[in-house]
Symmetry: C2
Subunit: 476 residues, 2 copies
């Protein structure tokens, strides 16, 4: 049992073979204890409760896509009965209801193990902006765990749960994935309801998925996605299976517009991933990233910081001294922004998006490094804001542009640190990203997170079609 792989393929096979979910739950708690990292979880479901939930599932039911699957939830997403802290104890409340996304996962048979640590109020990409212990990076303890969904990424990378929910407004679901060698799926804005999520930027927030494989992440996404009439930001987004297109046009950043901040190892690692994509048959189209960076500048230099302030205004005004000092400096800066500034920002974004329409129309997806260069704990201590900002180079613009994204681990860098690339698609392209991402991930021959496990064989196609994906059938 201690070597049980928790990916959906192997776990499901074990359940089909008679394994009891309650035993998996007990194993998960044993692993959490053995992991001995007090920074990962902010709260756990009492083990007895989780065992009871597992037992309540009854015998293996192949119709439940997440039967007996243990998962963790970032602590800015409501789980009924567990406190939602957003990594700020003074802000905490105990919700009576699950967030829509959590409720859908539970209904599919998944079991909540606990809530995970984060950069406070989901503001940050580093994982150190928390009053709790900082989770230890699963691949290299000298590195930041990444954030804001720090605990979720580390929990999956260490094999403590099958998957974990994060949120992603500016990269919080992608940067920590790459820093811990796991998959990070940032859905199309609105595809997964955000009801029951503590807002960061309400117009941009996404519930994201960390998993060890692309298929797992997409399967979880498929369960969570779907229109919620009670959520004003929810959209009806396609989430069905998508074929890998016969000709895949991939936007490739021009060399001059790539930013590695002097990290030549990162540049080499990115070139390797591009070569992997080329081997899969991609056709590359050069893309200048400068206009995308200009969009990203709107996020923290512009009016969108005011969304973070608006989200917690009442609490912030009454408890400013309780807020993490770096977070306080960022969010408090929004007070000086006027409503006219906010609309100016919306206008500039609308113009920028329109100007980039022709670029996006000419490609199926774009490939970028997930981050320019890994950041160490020492570096973030020295530069709490600048080092964080650098991590968002390739993620900040994505939600503002209403794009979907999938962070896929690459081969480990030549210095042994984790790398990886992000595939970026149009709104609604989540299925396409999964179709391409699974092949790219397989090409890497990865170990999964820090588990030492390798990618499972593809599941036996049910009714001829793998879950969520259609194999290509080229007919000449």
């Amino acid at each position: 049992m201690t070597d049980l792989a928790l990916d959906l393929v192997r776990l499901r096979a074990a359940y089909a073979g008679g394994l009891a979910p309650a035993d998996v739950v007990r194993e998960v708690y044993a692993r959490i204890a053995a992991a001995a990292d007090p920074g990962i979880f902010t709260a756990l479901t009492p083990e007895a409760e989780a065992v009871t939930a597992a037992e309540a599932l009854g015998a293996f039911d192949p119709a439940r896509p997440l039967y007996g699957v243990p998962f963790a939830v970032k602590d800015n997403i409501d789980v009924a009965g567990l406190p939602t802290t957003a990594a700020c104890a003074e802000y905490a409340y105990v919700p009576a209801a699950d967030a829509t996304a959590v409720a859908r996962l539970k209904a599919a048979g998944a079991i909540v193990i606990g809530k995970t640590n984060l950069d406070q109020f989901a503001t940050g990409l580093v994982g150190v902006r928390t009053p709790y212990p900082v989770p230890v990076n699963a691949c290299d303890p000298a590195l930041v765990p990444g954030g804001s969904s720090s605990g979720s990424a580390v929990a999956v990378a260490r094999g403590l749960v099958s998957f974990a929910l994060g949120t992603d407004t500016a990269g919080s679901g992608r940067v920590p994935a790459a820093l811990n060698n796991v998959v990070g799926l940032k859905p199309t804005v609105g595809a997964v309801p955000t009801r029951g999520v503590v807002p960061a930027c309400r117009t941009l927030d996404c519930v994201s998925v960390f998993a060890t494989t692309v298929d797992d992440a997409h399967a979880v996404f498929t369960v969570m996605a779907g229109y919620d009439p009670a959520d004003p930001w929810s959209k009806d987004v396609p989430r069905g299976p998508v074929a890998h297109p016969p000709v895949l046009r991939v936007g490739l950043p021009t060399a001059e517009s790539l930013r590695f901040f002097g990290d030549d190892i990162a540049r080499a690692a990115f070139d390797e991933s591009v070569a992997d994509l080329a081997a899969l048959g991609a056709t590359f189209v050069p893309v200048d990233l400068e206009p995308f960076y200009a969009v990203a500048d709107l996020l923290y230099e512009g009016a969108w910081v005011a969304e973070r302030y608006a989200a917690i205004r009442g609490f912030f005004e009454a408890n400013e001294d309780k807020v993490h000092p770096v977070t306080r400096a960022i969010v408090g800066g929004a007070r000086s922004r006027s409503a006219a500034d906010a609309f100016d920002g919306l206008y500039r974004l609308a113009a920028a998006r329109r100007a980039l329409d022709p670029v996006l129309a000419g490609i199926d997806l774009m490939v970028v490094p997930t981050y320019p260069s890994p950041v160490t704990l020492d570096e973030i201590a020295a530069e709490p804001i600048a080092a964080n900002s650098r991590l968002g180079t390739y993620t900040n613009f994505v939600n503002l542009m209403d794009l979907s994204a999938l962070a896929v681990p690459g081969r480990f860098r030549s210095d042994g640190r984790p790398g990886g690339v992000t595939l970026i698609g149009r709104a609604g392209a989540d299925g396409l990203l999964a179709a391409v991402g699974r092949r790219l991930h397989a090409a890497v021959r990865p170990t999964l997170g820090a588990t030492g496990l390798t990618l499972p064989d593809a599941p036996p196609p049910a009714a001829g079609v793998p879950d969520g994906l259609i194999p290509i059938a080229v007919v000449g």
Copy 2:
């Protein structure tokens, strides 16, 4: 020639019969001189230039939908070579290029006669907030002309031009239409590009049409509409012909939620229009307007005033004393709004729209009075803001809700003042509104504006289908 009707049907018939556009243009200038109202136009195309433009059209070309059609343009919309003042002389500039909408009309054969007066910066529904003379209401000189598109409405009502462009952010294309007994078409937001329009609320602004008949207004809309990639707010909206549905579900405001501010004549006039709709076969569904009023409150009490400020911020800061005092008070109030307020407003709007989705899903369109009660010049002098606000009761929420609207004249009220109703449809329902509005207008047996003319016979169907509309063919 002096009794030539300028509606498109009769004008086109005259052209087909050999009339020369230059002669029509000369007649138009003679009428403008005879009208002797210095408040209507802020500037005229020099007559010789207009005659030259008319002569340049050559012989009658039935392929040009607006061949030789004289029109006026609200003076917040660019016409190359004529100053754009937005009713503020100090703000004025002379644009080098036509607004997209104007360029498309010219390309279809229409001839710009001049620019028309407005409530300064399109802020107002009364027409008196201008440094220029106030246009005289075409139906009753004691009434305000309505605004902000005051000059355009009066110019059409007095038969000076075939149609006129307005803008409509909160009712500026509908209220003056009703006050002058003409049709006011407020398209779906984004259907007509706003490039070359002085913004009021950039996210809500629409170019609108004043005409004497619904068919004319829709024909002009059809020419102007269409995606403009250079306009961030432009959308690809259906504008083709739409059949009058066999069963028309019309949202009818509940009696308790109608607001007439004590004007029983207005209530009776509205009941008449509802009876007309019933006679056309409408099925009514009761609708509570209170949640729509709550949306409207966002417009002037909330953050959207900041859009008006953002639109002219540089000018306003340097020239506040040059701004009309009422406009200055309204727009200047936006300075105290924060960016967080703006996002709060966007959140409240998103929630309100979502909450009203089921209401709108149950109907094809909604009928409301265009305004609760006509406002006199004396009343607006006594209450410069409150009397204006009352006029927007049934118009303010429409653009915020992303709805289309068509103001259709009704029978004159029992006191001889103009009335009328507005049909409100979903985004993209412009064709449906025209299909229903033309029948409702015909049922009124109207005189057109203040011209004394009656509705022309429907044009002979070209290729079996009237322009822009499909006749119902019920097949049993």
